[in-house]
């Protein structure tokens, strides 16, 4: 497990609707979000950290739903709802803009 100090600092400037320049530290099991403008941080764990990693790797929500369904052994539509809720939560909290992912 890498230490925070060793981690790659990522800049989130993905979407045109992004209001803030969010940075994050991605570790293998968790993610720390840093919003310097508003002097706040958040720690993502579990499925949230997993999804943050996938979305920032460029996967579209549909692909994430299929993968999450396979990992958790749940139907893709249920996984899809979980992802929608997650994205909505992050958007409302200002961590995300209103569209994500490019599925490169």
């Amino acid at each position: 497990m890498k230490m925070l100090d060793d981690s790659t600092i990522n800049h989130h400037t993905e979407t045109s609707t992004q209001k803030v320049d969010i940075q994050w530290v991605q570790d293998r099991g968790w993610v720390i979000l840093v919003d310097e403008g508003h002097q706040r941080t958040a720690r993502l764990e579990g499925d949230d950290a997993l999804l943050w990693g996938w979305l920032n790797a460029g996967l579209l929500p549909d692909k994430c739903a299929r993968l999450l369904g396979a990992v958790k052994n749940i139907p893709p539509d249920k996984a899809g709802r979980q992802i929608e809720e997650c994205i909505k939560r992050w958007q409302e909290a200002g961590w995300l803009g209103d569209s994500r992912g490019t599925d490169e």
Binding site: T8, N10, Q26, N56, A57, G58, A70, V71, E104
Partner: protein, 452 residues
């Protein structure tokens, strides 16, 4: 007879006992005294007494072939799809029709479930999972799935997890960043370096690898995991190995740089051509010296002079390498490649019930050790190259009658041993005037007992 070797190095003799991890550079008279004292029970001369004492006292740690039921696989390998964008044999090319098939998430899940069950049952502490390839889009799903599912299973079973990706580097940059954040090790082939012209100067600003591979190498280099770079050496690039090493040092921070040499099986296109074994050994010695000065380990497959072994690769070490269709193989190369050499590397298959292992096949593969290879019997590299690749390095023939590939491996082994004793110059000078044509290294018996 004790496996102790003696090889003349100009006016000196390299004494090497791989199983005791003892090496020394002595003069020929001393070598004879050591031979008589250690092998023929004569009283050692006082000048060689300390070395003889060590050679007599330190135990020989003989590697043993695996036996019994499958309990501690070397690793679980997943091949989401055969074939690489570069068509390189070292990144799993030559798959032909096999390249059509892509691993399903269900096959990946079954393999991971079976692997974790096996580890838990056997009380193993670490899950070591290696993914070979996965750059092609359908196969990327397996990459993301495996990382997440393996992490979940490791957490459930309270096991440590080590993830490795072997890649040709043709990944979208965002995915490369994700890999850098989530994998412990990346092995990246710097394909394209062989495109440098024979008479051209190597240009570190245009190193002839794609910008995508270069950018991704930088990402992996900056990531917290370990990075191994693989460099293919051809007749055209042999003179650039030192420059390429300097470029690597200035561009990346790898842990290991692994040099492989082009071989006829890679195809005859582009006029690349096989490498002269002595030229390769010279260039490798120089490149390794450059890299080692920066704390980077230089290696040449199949030589590993740190740990004595009976097999140069996962074959015989109970590695479970899952093909896209769910076959369990001992070798990461495609079935068609090793079947064409009549090598029986299929161990079983993955099913919803778990691993279906054929115990006879497993034991047959375990028995394919270098100790069964007559040509290797008296070679100083016996426990370091361990016979090399089963597919690319035939083992028939009499003891000490070496192919060009063997000669190359032997010279690299010897120069590695000399550099490990801070004898870079001795290795360089010896290789500089080494004449393969007149030398006896293609027909040699390196055992100390045969030293005269």
């Amino acid at each position: 007879m004790k496996p102790i070797f003696a090889v003349p190095i100009d006016d000196k003799v390299l004494i090497h006992s791989p199983l005791q991890k003892i090496s020394a550079l002595v003069n020929p008279t001393a070598a004879l005294m050591i031979r008589d004292a250690v092998l023929f029970d004569q009283e050692p001369h006082e000048k060689v007494n300390a070395l003889c004492k060590a050679l007599n006292a330190r135990p020989f740690e003989v590697p043993q072939p695996r036996t019994g039921s499958l309990q501690a696989p070397m690793f679980l390998g997943l091949i989401p799809v055969y074939g690489s964008m570069t068509g390189c044999i070292f990144t799993d090319c030559t798959a032909g029709a096999e390249a059509e098939s892509v691993m399903s998430l269900e096959t990946a899940r079954q393999a991971l479930d079976a692997y974790f069950e096996l580890l838990t049952r056997a009380g193993q502490p670490l899950a070591d999972i290696r993914i070979f390839g996965a750059e092609a889009f359908p196969a990327l799903d397996v990459l993301f799935f495996t990382e997440a599912y393996a992490r979940q299973r490791a957490e459930q079973e309270n096991l440590a997890l080590h993830l490795t990706l072997v890649t040709d580097g043709h990944l979208p940059i965002k995915i490369a960043r994700w890999v850098g954040d989530h994998f412990n090790d990346v092995t990246l082939s710097l394909e394209g370096l062989q495109g440098v012209g024979e008479d051209e100067t190597f240009d570190p600003f245009e190193p002839s690898i794609s910008s995508q591979v270069f950018d991704n190498a930088c990402i992996f280099s900056d990531s917290p995991g370990d990075l191994t770079l693989r460099v293919c050496t051809t007749r055209r690039t042999i003179n650039h190995m030192g420059d390429i090493a300097a470029w690597i040092v200035s561009s990346f921070v790898p842990n290991v740089v692994c040099y492989q040499s082009w071989m006829p099986k890679c195809g005859s296109g582009e006029g690349l051509g096989a490498v002269d074994p002595v030229a390769f050994a010279r260039a490798f010695n120089q490149a390794a010296y450059e890299l080692e000065a920066h704390g980077i380990l230089a290696c040449h497959n199949p030589v590993d002079f740190h740990t004595p072994r009976l097999s140069a690769c996962p074959v015989g070490e109970d590695a479970l390498i899952i093909s896209p269709e769910g076959r369990i193989n001992a070798c990461p190369l495609p079935l068609s490649v090793w079947q064409s050499e009549s090598l029986p590397f299929q161990i079983g298959a993955v099913s919803p019930e778990g691993f279906e292992i054929d115990p006879v096949a497993l034991n047959d593969i375990r028995a394919l050790t270098v100790l069964k290879s007559p040509v290797c019997e008296d070679c100083i590299s016996l426990f370091h190259c361990a016979g090399g690749c089963y597919v690319n390095n035939p083992r028939e023939g009499q003891s000490g009658r070496f192919s060009d590939r063997c000669l190359q491996t032997r010279l690299v082994t010897i120069s590695n041993l000399l550099r490990a004793m801070d004898q870079y110059e001795a290795a360089r000078d010896w290789l500089d005037h080494y004449d393969a044509a007149s030398h006896d290294h293609k027909v040699a018996k390196d055992r100390l007992k045969d030293f005269k």
